[in-house]
C-alpha cells in the first residue's frame, strides 16, 4: 500500500510556525529530495522511497519531541509536513509581492498570520547578511552562495531565498523616489525594524561599501545598519529638505545615492588640515576644552593631528567611487584602530568627537560650518558605533 496522493486543504489555510521555519531554513520535505527523484523516475518507486526515508524536515520535527506530545506517528508527521510545504510553495509566489498576498483570494489567511508569513519570509540570518552586505546583488554574487552556505552553515536554499529577497527589494525600490524605508514598507509590508534593515542592505548594495575586509569582521550587521541609517538621513539627496519640492527629473534616487554635490563640497574641508594655523588652532581649542576630562588626554594630544588628518582626508576623498566604497575600511584604519591601540574608553571617544566637531565653530577662518556639521554629525555617530571590540 503506497500513498499516491495525500492532501489536506482548509478553508482557513493552516500555518504551522515551526514547519514554516523549517521550510524557510531550507530543510527539505519529501519535496526537496525525494520529489527530486520523482521528477526523473517512476511515481510508484518514489512513493515508496518517500515512505521509507524520512525527510530532513520531518526528522527535525521528530527530534523536537512532537511525536511524544501528540501521540502521532512519523507517517502522520510526514504527511502534515508535506501539506505545509506545498502550501508554502504555493504561497511563495505571493510572498514575492506581499501586497498580492493581502489581495489574493486563493488562501484565506487571517491578517496576523499574513504578517507573520511576510515577516518571517523576509527575515535573514546575520551570518548571511554580513557575507553579502555591500556586494553587488548580481548573478556573480549569487554563484558564490555555495561558498557562503558552506562557510555559514546556512542551507543553500535559505541563502538563495535571502539573497533573492535582497535583490527583489533592491530592484523594486531602486528607481523609486521618496523615503527608502517608506518605500520598502509600502511595497513589502515589513515591520518598521525589518524595513530599516532592508534599507541599510539596499543602501549598502547600491553604494557597494566594502564590509568584508578582515579588519571589518568585528563589526556586526547592526553596526553597519546604524551607520547606513545615519548616512541615509544626512548624506543623501533625500536628506536635503528642499528636495521633494524641487523635483529634478535627472536627480538620482532620493535615498539610495549619496548627495554628489555634498561629496564634492567635502573637498573644502581639507583646509582644516592643510592650513597649519587652522589645524593648530583647532587642536588647541579641543585640548583646552578636554584637559582634565579625558583619561587618555596625552595620547589624544599626541595623536590629534593624525586623527584629524585621517577624518578630513576621508571626507576629501569621497568624490571618488572607489574611496566611497572603502569608507568603512578607512574609518577603521584612520580612527578606530589608533583609538583602540591607545585603549581609549568609549566615553573618551565620545567627548573627543563632540569637542572635535564643536570646536570648528570657533575657527573664524573656516567658512564651511554647515558642511562640516553635515559631515561630522553623521560621522560622529558612525565612529562611536564602530568603536568597539
Amino acid at each position: 500500500m503506497t500513498s499516491e496522493l495525500d492532501i489536506f486543504v482548509g478553508n482557513t489555510t493552516l500555518i504551522d510556525e515551526d514547519v514554516y521555519r523549517l521550510w524557510l531554513d531550507g530543510y527539505s520535505g519529501l519535496w526537496g529530495t525525494v520529489c527530486g527523484c520523482r521528477f526523473g523516475g517512476a511515481v510508484v518507486l518514489d512513493g515508496r522511497a518517500g515512505r521509507a526515508r524520512m525527510s530532513d524536515a520531518v526528522a527535525l520535527r521528530v527530534r523536537s519531541g512532537i511525536l511524544e506530545q501528540t501521540g502521532a506517528t512519523a507517517a502522520v508527521l510526514q504527511s502534515d509536513t508535506m501539506d505545509h510545504y506545498r502550501t508554502f510553495q504555493m504561497l511563495e509566489r505571493l510572498l514575492h509581492a506581499p501586497p498580492k498576498l493581502l489581495h489574493q483570494l486563493i488562501f484565506q489567511i487571517p491578517p496576523s498570520r499574513q504578517a507573520l508569513l511576510i515577516e518571517r519570509y523576509y527575515a535573514f540570518d546575520e551570518a548571511f547578511v554580513r557575507e553579502v552586505l555591500g556586494k553587488k546583488l548580481s548573478k556573480g554574487t549569487k554563484k558564490d552562495l555555495d561558498d557562503i552556505s558552506t562557510k555559514t552553515g546556512i542551507t543553500l536554499k535559505s541563502c538563495r531565498r535571502q539573497f533573492d529577497n535582497f535583490k527583489r527589494v533592491f530592484k523594486v525600490v531602486e528607481e523609486m523616489r521618496g523615503s527608502l524605508v517608506d518605500n520598502i514598507q509600502q511595497h513589502f509590508l515589513l515591520s518598521d525594524r525589518l524595513a530599516r534593515d532592508y534599507a541599510a542592505i539596499v543602501f549598502f548594495a547600491n553604494n557597494r561599501f566594502e564590509t568584508g575586509k578582515k579588519k571589518l569582521q568585528y563589526l556586526s550587521f547592526g553596526d553597519f545598519a546604524f551607520c547606513a541609517e545615519l548616512m541615509i538621513q544626512n548624506w543623501t539627496l533625500g536628506a536635503v529638505g528642499e528636495a521633494p519640492t524641487d523635483p529634478d527629473p535627472q536627480a538620482d534616487d532620493m535615498d539610495m545615492d549619496l548627495d554628489k554635490e555634498f561629496l564634492q563640497d567635502l573637498k573644502e574641508l581639507k583646509v582644516l588640515v592643510a592650513d597649519k594655523d587652522l589645524l593648530d588652532l583647532h587642536k588647541s581649542l579641543v585640548c583646552t576644552a578636554l584637559r582634565g576630562k579625558l583619561g587618555v588626554f596625552s595620547e589624544m594630544e599626541a595623536n590629534f593631528k593624525n586623527l584629524s588628518r585621517g577624518l578630513v582626508n576621508v571626507a576629501a576623498k569621497l568624490t571618488h567611487n572607489k574611496d566611497v566604497r572603502d569608507l568603512f575600511v578607512d574609518l577603521v584604519e584612520k580612527f578606530v584602530e589608533p583609538c583602540r591601540s591607545d585603549h581609549w574608553p568609549l566615553n573618551d571617544v565620545r567627548l573627543f568627537l563632540n569637542q572635535y566637531s564643536a570646536s570648528v565653530h570657533s575657527l573664524d577662518g573656516f567658512r564651511h560650518q554647515a558642511l562640516w556639521d553635515r559631515y561630522m554629525g553623521t560621522l560622529r555617530g558612525c565612529l562611536l558605533r564602530l568603536c568597539h571590540d
Partner: protein, 1084 residues
C-alpha cells in the same frame, strides 16, 4: 422580455503576463449571455486594467435567466494572431431572481482557466431587472428558493411541507474520453463546464416548476448530482423537498397559507373515493375501525389505471401486513393511516403523469418539533444497471450549440434516455417505499440517492429512514382534539420517537422489544439505526462518536452482464457485513443507536468497497446494549481457549473504556420497574457470521451478559479472528477531540465560534500481488484510520474541538487505486461547560422549543392544498407499467425501458436476500418526537460570545464555509441563494505542478477561493450546508497529465455574530446592498 440583465466590467488585477516582450498584457473582456456577446475596450499594457465599462444590457426570457450562466471571458488582445484567452468566470445569476435574496452581484472574481487555474481577478457588477409575468404557462420558475440545507432554514418558518420533488436531465458528455480528443483540452473542458452549468440551471428551473405546481415557494434539502456515465452520457439529477416557507420577520403570509389547506381539506371527503371501508383520511373515520389495513392505497386508486394499487410488499414477505389495530391500539393504526392518506392526497395533481408525487419522501434530516412521531428504521435499496449508449440522432452534429441539448429533455422530446434513468430511480424509490411500509411507516425522512459507476456498470442506491409523521400537522379536522390528547400523553418528550411504529406481534423482523426506559409505557427496540440527525430533545446519555464500517470485496474482472451479475451477487453480502460491523462497533462503544447513517458502496474494476459512517449515541430510552461474547469453535483446545478468553477480556476492557470515554453512565434501573411483560422471543440475540456454517456449537455456552443479551462473535476461522482484531484496532480520537457525522455532537452544546472546514483527499495504490480480501480490508482500514489520525494531528491547535459532519467518500478510480475524500468541519467548544448534563440541556431545549413552536413551526403538511383528485401509489409489482401508462408513454417505449432494467429481477431478489439476512440489523429503527427542538442543533442561549476579533485591515472579506446548517455563535440573517459550482482542472505538466498532490491541492484551494468569491460578491459572509458532491480525479503519470472534476454546493448566507447582533441589526440592510467594489468587504 421579462428580464433585463445588466453587467458592468470594472477592473482586473493580478493578470498574468501575456506578452513576454513587454511583461505586460493588453486585456479586454467578452461578456456573453445566451447568444449575445459584448466586448469591452482593450486596456493596453497593464496587469491591472481599469475598464470601467458601460452597462452591458441583455434582454432575455426569465427561462434563460434561470438556465444560462453569465459567461465572462478575459482575453489578451493580439494584433497579428488570434487573441489569447486568459480565463473565464461563470456567474450563476439565479440568486438575483428571488425577491428577497441578493439584489446585486458585485465583487472580485477569480479568473479561472481549466489548464492554468486561477489567473488574476476581475471586478464585475451584475444586476437584473425582472418584470412580472403572470403567464401561467410559463416555463420559468423564477422566485422559487433553493436551499441545500436539510432542515428548515434558520430565518424561515415552514408553513407547509409539500414533499418530494425530483428531476433529471441527460445529455451527451462533451468529453467522455479525456485522453482522446480532437479539440484542445481547454475547449472541451469549457464545453463541459458550460454544459453542466446549463443543465443544472435547467434542472433547477424544472424542479422550480414542479414546486410552483404544488403551490410551494421553496425547495429545502436540494441535492443535485452528476453521473458521469462516460460514453453513455451525462446525467444531472436532483431531489429535494418542496415547501412553502415564510420569512420569519414577515408574519403576514402565515394565516392565509394556513387556512387554505384546511378549507380544501374539508372538501376532500366529498371528492374522495366513496368506499368507506378502506378510506381513512376523512374526519368521519371512526377511531376504532378494525378494518384498517396497512395498505389502504386502494381507496385512492380510482385515478390510476386498472392496475392493482396495493404496492406494499407485504404479501410477499409477510411483514407488517394485516390489521395493525389489535393490540397496539387503533390509535396507532389511525395515526399511520391518516399520515399515509395525507401523504397520498398530496399526490393529487392536475397532471396525471406527474409521477413524482407518489413518493412520501423528505430529504430533510432535521425537523420542526412535533413533525416526527415514530421512527421505524433505515430503509435502503440498491440496484445494479448496465449503462448503454443511447443512439439518438439528436446528438449528431449539435455539439457547440449550447441550447440544443434541451431537445433531449424528456418532457419535451421523445428521447427514451432520461426515461430510462427516470424509470430506474422510480423503481428504487418504489422499493424504498415498500420497505418503509413493511416497517409500519408511511414516510421516509433523511432520504438521499447516490450512484457509483465503473465502466458500463452503475449501482444506484437510495436510503432513508422510515418514519411516521404527526397527523396533527396533516389536517385540522374534528379528530384532532382527541388525537392530540393521546399524542401528548403517549409521546413524552425525548423518547417518543424511539417507540416502535410497527405492531409488536407482527414485527417485520425479529427484534428484541422492551418497554421504553424513559416513559416505561411504550415499546422500544434494543437498537435504533437512522439516517437523520439526532432530534434536539432526544434524551441522550454521554457523548456520541463517529462509527465506521469498512469493507472490501474482490471481484473478478468481467464485462457487461457478467460483471453486473457478479456485483449483484456480492452486494447482499457486503450489506450484511457492513451492518454486522456497525452493530459490533456500536456495542463496543457501549451505545445503542446510530444517527446519520450513510452507507456507500463503490464499484471498481476488480473490487467493491463499502463504507458506512454514522454517529453512535446512547439513547436513554433504549435498553443498555449487551456486551460482545466471543465463542471459539473448538472449545476443547486449551491454548485456544486461553486465547479466546484473552480476546474476550480485551473486548470487555474496551467496552468499559469507551463507556468512560464517552461518559455513558445510564442510571441503574431495577428489574421491577422495567418489568418484562413482553414475551421475549429470545433471551439473547445471536448474530452468526455469514461464513460460519455451524451454529450449534455455541448454543451451549452461557452467553448472557448478566441479564442483558449478548452479541456473539464466533471465531471459527482466521477471517473471523481478523475481524475481531480489526474491531479493536479502531483507536479513539486523542483526548480533547470528538467526531461525528451528524450536524452536532450529541452531548456537546457549548460551541465557541472558531470553525475550520477542510477537505482531505488520499489515494493509495494497492500492491497488485496476491490481493486478498483480508489484505484489502486491512489496507482500507488503515487508510481511513490514518486519515483520521492526520486530521486530529493537524487540528490539534483547536482542542478541545469536535469534527462535525465528517463525510467520507470512497471511490475506485482505477484498478489498484482507492481514493478517499473527507470533508468536515472542526468546531471548538468550551471545555468548562462541556460537562453540562444532558438533562439540563434537554430542559433548555424543551423550553426553547415551546417558545419557538408557536411562531416558528406551525406547519401543517400540505395534504390538501390541491383539491384535485389524489393520485394513488402505483403498485410495486407493476409500477413500471403503471408509471409509464400514467405518463402516457407509448407501449413500444415501455418495452425498451423494461429492457434497460434487465437486472431488476435479480436486484429485487437480492434485496429480498438482504432483507432476510440482515433482519437483525434492520431492527435499527427509528423514532420521532413531538417536541423536537428547532433544527438548529445549538441553542442560541448556549453560545459563548468568544468571537474572534474581526479581521481588521484585510482587504479580502472573510467567508466562512461549513457543511453544517448553522454557524456557531452567530445568527444567520439572510439566505442569498444556492451556490452550485462545477469545475474542471487539467494539466499536461503534472510533475512541474508538484505531482498529483500539488495539482489537487492547488485545485481544491482554488475551488474554495471561487466559492468564497461568489459568496462575497452576493454580499454574503458564509456558506452553510457546503458539500463537495464530486471529486473525480484521473491521472496519467506517463503522459504527465491529470484531470480533476469537482462539484460543490451550499447556501450563501449573511450571518451576524450574536455579540454584534444588536448593533448590526439596524445597519444590516444597508450593509448588504452596498456593493463593495473594493473587494467585497463583509462584516464578520
Amino acid at each position: 422580455m421579462p428580464g433585463k440583465l445588466k453587467v458592468k466590467i470594472v477592473a482586473g488585477r493580478h493578470l498574468p503576463v501575456m506578452d513576454r516582450a513587454s511583461d505586460l498584457t493588453d486585456a479586454f473582456v467578452e461578456v456573453k449571455f445566451g447568444n449575445t456577446t459584448f466586448k469591452t475596450d482593450v486596456y493596453l499594457k497593464s496587469l491591472n486594467p481599469q475598464w470601467n465599462s458601460e452597462w452591458f444590457k441583455f434582454e432575455v426570457d426569465d427561462e434563460d435567466l434561470q438556465d444560462e450562466p453569465l459567461q465572462i471571458t478575459v482575453l489578451d488582445h493580439d494584433t497579428y494572431s488570434a487573441n489569447d484567452a486568459i480565463g473565464k468566470v461563470y456567474i450563476d445569476i439565479d440568486p438575483l431572481l428571488y425577491s428577497e435574496a441578493a439584489t446585486v452581484i458585485s465583487g472580485w472574481f477569480p479568473i479561472y482557466d481549466t489548464i492554468h487555474g486561477i489567473r488574476g481577478e476581475i471586478n464585475v457588477v451584475v444586476k437584473v431587472d425582472l418584470f412580472n409575468d403572470l403567464n401561467r404557462f410559463r416555463q420559468s420558475s423564477c422566485g422559487v428558493k433553493f436551499f441545500c440545507t436539510t432542515s428548515i432554514p434558520k430565518c424561515y418558518r415552514a408553513v407547509i411541507i409539500h414533499g418530494f420533488v425530483e428531476e433529471l436531465v441527460v445529455n451527451e458528455d462533451p468529453e467522455y474520453q479525456w485522453i482522446d480528443r480532437i479539440r484542445t483540452p481547454r475547449a472541451s473542458n469549457e464545453a463541459r463546464q458550460r454544459l453542466i452549468s446549463l443543465m443544472s440551471g435547467e434542472l433547477q428551473r424544472k424542479i422550480g416548476l414542479k414546486v410552483l405546481e404544488m403551490r410551494g415557494n421553496a425547495v429545502v434539502g436540494y441535492l443535485q448530482c452528476f453521473d458521469l456515465e462516460g460514453e453513455s452520457g451525462l446525467v444531472v439529477r436532483a431531489i429535494g423537498t418542496a415547501c412553502t416557507l415564510d420569512k420569519l420577520s414577515s408574519p403576514a403570509a402565515f394565516l392565509p397559507a394556513c387556512n387554505s389547506p384546511s378549507k380544501e381539506m374539508k372538501e376532500i371527503p366529498f371528492n374522495e373515493d366513496p368506499n368507506p371501508n378502506t378510506h381513512s383520511s376523512g374526519p368521519s373515520t371512526p377511531l376504532k375501525n378494525q378494518t384498517y389495513s396497512f395498505s389502504p392505497s386502494k381507496s385512492y386508486s380510482r385515478q390510476s389505471s386498472s392496475s392493482d394499487t396495493d404496492l406494499s410488499l407485504t404479501p410477499k414477505t409477510g411483514m407488517g401486513s394485516g390489521s395493525a389495530g389489535k393490540e397496539g391500539g387503533p390509535f396507532k393504526a389511525l395515526l399511520r393511516q391518516q399520515t399515509q392518506s395525507a401523504l397520498e392526497q398530496r399526490g393529487g395533481s392536475p397532471h396525471r403523469f406527474c409521477r413524482r408525487r407518489e413518493f412520501p419522501f423528505f430529504t430533510l434530516t432535521a425537523f420542526p418539533p412535533g413533525f416526527l412521531v415514530h421512527v421505524g428504521g433505515v430503509v435502503s435499496a440498491r440496484s445494479v444497471k448496465l449503462l448503454d449508449r443511447i443512439h439518438n440522432p439528436a446528438f449528431v452534429g449539435i455539439m457547440g450549440n449550447t441550447r440544443s441539448y434541451k431537445l433531449l429533455d424528456w418532457n419535451s422530446f421523445n428521447s427514451d434516455e432520461p426515461e430510462t434513468r427516470d424509470a430506474w430511480w422510480a423503481e428504487i424509490r418504489q422499493e424504498i417505499k415498500s420497505h418503509a411500509k413493511a416497517l409500519g411507516c408511511h414516510a421516509v425522512v433523511g432520504y438521499s440517492e447516490s450512484t457509483s459507476i465503473c465502466e458500463e456498470v452503475c449501482i444506484l442506491s437510495a436510503s432513508g429512514t422510515a418514519a411516521v409523521l404527526n397527523p396533527r400537522f396533516l389536517q385540522d379536522g374534528t379528530v384532532e382534539g382527541c388525537l392530540e390528547q393521546r399524542l401528548e400523553e403517549n409521546l413524552p418528550a425525548g423518547c417518543g420517537f424511539c417507540h416502535i411504529p410497527y405492531d409488536e406481534l407482527n414485527m417485520p423482523f425479529p427484534a428484541h422489544l422492551t418497554y421504553c426506559y424513559n416513559c416505561r409505557k411504550q415499546k422500544v427496540p434494543d437498537v435504533l439505526f437512522t439516517t437523520i440527525d439526532l432530534p434536539m430533545d432526544a434524551a441522550v446519555i454521554g457523548k456520541g462518536c463517529l462509527i465506521q464500517a469498512r469493507l472490501c470485496r474482490l471481484k473478478k474482472k468481467a464485462q457487461a452482464e457478467a460483471n453486473a451479475t457478479a456485483i449483484s451477487n456480492l452486494l447482499p453480502f457486503m450489506e450484511y457485513e457492513v451492518h454486522t460491523q456497525l452493530m459490533n462497533k456500536l456495542k463496543l462503544k457501549g451505545m445503542n443507536a446510530l444517527f446519520g447513517l450513510r452507507i456507500q458502496i463503490s464499484v471498481g474494476e476488480n473490487m467493491l468497497m463499502g463504507l458506512a459512517s454514522a454517529t453512535g449515541v446512547y439513547l436513554a430510552a433504549l435498553p443498555t446494549p449487551g456486551g460482545i461474547q466471543i465463542a471459539g469453535k473448538t472449545p476443547n483446545d486449551g491454548s485456544y481457549e486461553q486465547h479466546i478468553s484473552h480476546m474476550q477480556k480485551k473486548i470487555n476492557d474496551t467496552i468499559a473504556k469507551n463507556k468512560e470515554l464517552y461518559e455513558i453512565n445510564p442510571p441503574e434501573i431495577s428489574e421491577e420497574i422495567i418489568g418484562s411483560p413482553i414475551p421475549e422471543p429470545r433471551q439473547r440475540s445471536r448474530l452468526l457470521r455469514s461464513q460460519s456454517e455451524s451454529s450449534d456449537e455455541v448454543t451451549e455456552l452461557d452467553l448472557s451478559h448478566g441479564k442483558k443479551d449478548a452479541f456473539v462473535l464466533e471465531i471459527d476461522d482466521t477471517d473471523a479472528m481478523e475481524d475481531v482484531h480489526s474491531l479493536l484496532t479502531d483507536v479513539p480520537p486523542p483526548s480533547g477531540f470528538y467526531s461525528c457525522n451528524t450536524e452536532i455532537m450529541p452531548g456537546i452544546n457549548n460551541w465557541t465560534s472558531e470553525i475550520q472546514m477542510f477537505t482531505s483527499v488520499r489515494v493509495i495504490r494497492l500492491s497488485s500481488l496476491n490481493l486478498t480480501n483480508q489484505a484489502l480490508n486491512k489496507n482500507f482500514n488503515d487508510l481511513c484510520e490514518n486519515l483520521l489520525k492526520s486530521l486530529y494531528f493537524k487540528l490539534r491547535s483547536m482542542i478541545p474541538c469536535c469534527l462535525c459532519h465528517v463525510n467520507f467518500t470512497v471511490s475506485l478510480p482505477e484498478d489498484e487505486l482507492i481514493q478517499v475524500t473527507v470533508t468536515a468541519v472542526a468546531i471548538t467548544f468550551d471545555k468548562n461547560q462541556a460537562l453540562q448534563t444532558t438533562k439540563t440541556h434537554a430542559e433548555k431545549s424543551l423550553q426553547r422549543a415551546s417558545t419557538d413552536n408557536e411562531e416558528l413551526l406551525q406547519f401543517p403538511l400540505e395534504l390538501c392544498s390541491d383539491a384535485l383528485p389524489s393520485h394513488p401509489f402505483p403498485p410495486a409489482k407493476e409500477h413500471l407499467e403503471s408509471a409509464s401508462s400514467n405518463s402516457g408513454i407509448p407501449a413500444a417505449q415501455r418495452a425498451t425501458s423494461v429492457d434497460y432494467s434487465s437486472f431488476a429481477d435479480r436486484c429485487s431478489s437480492w434485496i429480498e436476500l438482504i432483507k432476510l439476512k440482515a433482519q437483525t440489523i434492520r431492527r435499527g429503527s427509528i423514532k420521532t418526537t413531538v417536541t423536537v427542538e428547532k433544527a438548529s442543533p445549538v441553542g442560541e442561549g448556549n453560545f459563548r460570545n468568544r468571537s474572534s476579533p474581526p479581521c481588521a485591515n484585510s482587504t479580502v472579506g472573510v467567508v466562512k464555509m461549513t457543511p453544517l446548517s448553522f454557524i456557531p455563535g452567530a445568527k444567520i440573517t439572510k439566505y442569498l441563494g444556492i451556490i452550485n459550482m462545477f469545475f474542471i482542472r487539467e494539466t499536461t505538466s503534472l510533475r512541474e505542478e508538484g505531482g498529483v498532490s500539488g495539482f489537487l491541492h492547488a485545485f481544491i484551494a482554488e475551488v474554495f477561493a471561487m466559492v468564497r468569491a461568489h459568496v462575497a460578491a452576493l454580499g454574503g459572509n458564509a456558506v452553510v450546508s457546503y458539500i463537495m458532491k464530486q471529486c473525480v480525479f484521473m491521472e496519467n503519470p506517463n503522459k504527465n497529465q491529470a484531470q480533476c472534476l469537482i462539484n460543490v454546493s451550499g447556501d450563501a448566507v449573511v450571518f451576524v455574530r450574536e455579540s454584534e447582533l444588536e448593533v448590526v441589526s439596524t445597519q444590516q440592510p444597508a450593509a448588504n446592498c452596498q456593493p463593495s467594489c473594493t473587494g467585497g468587504e463583509v462584516t464578520t
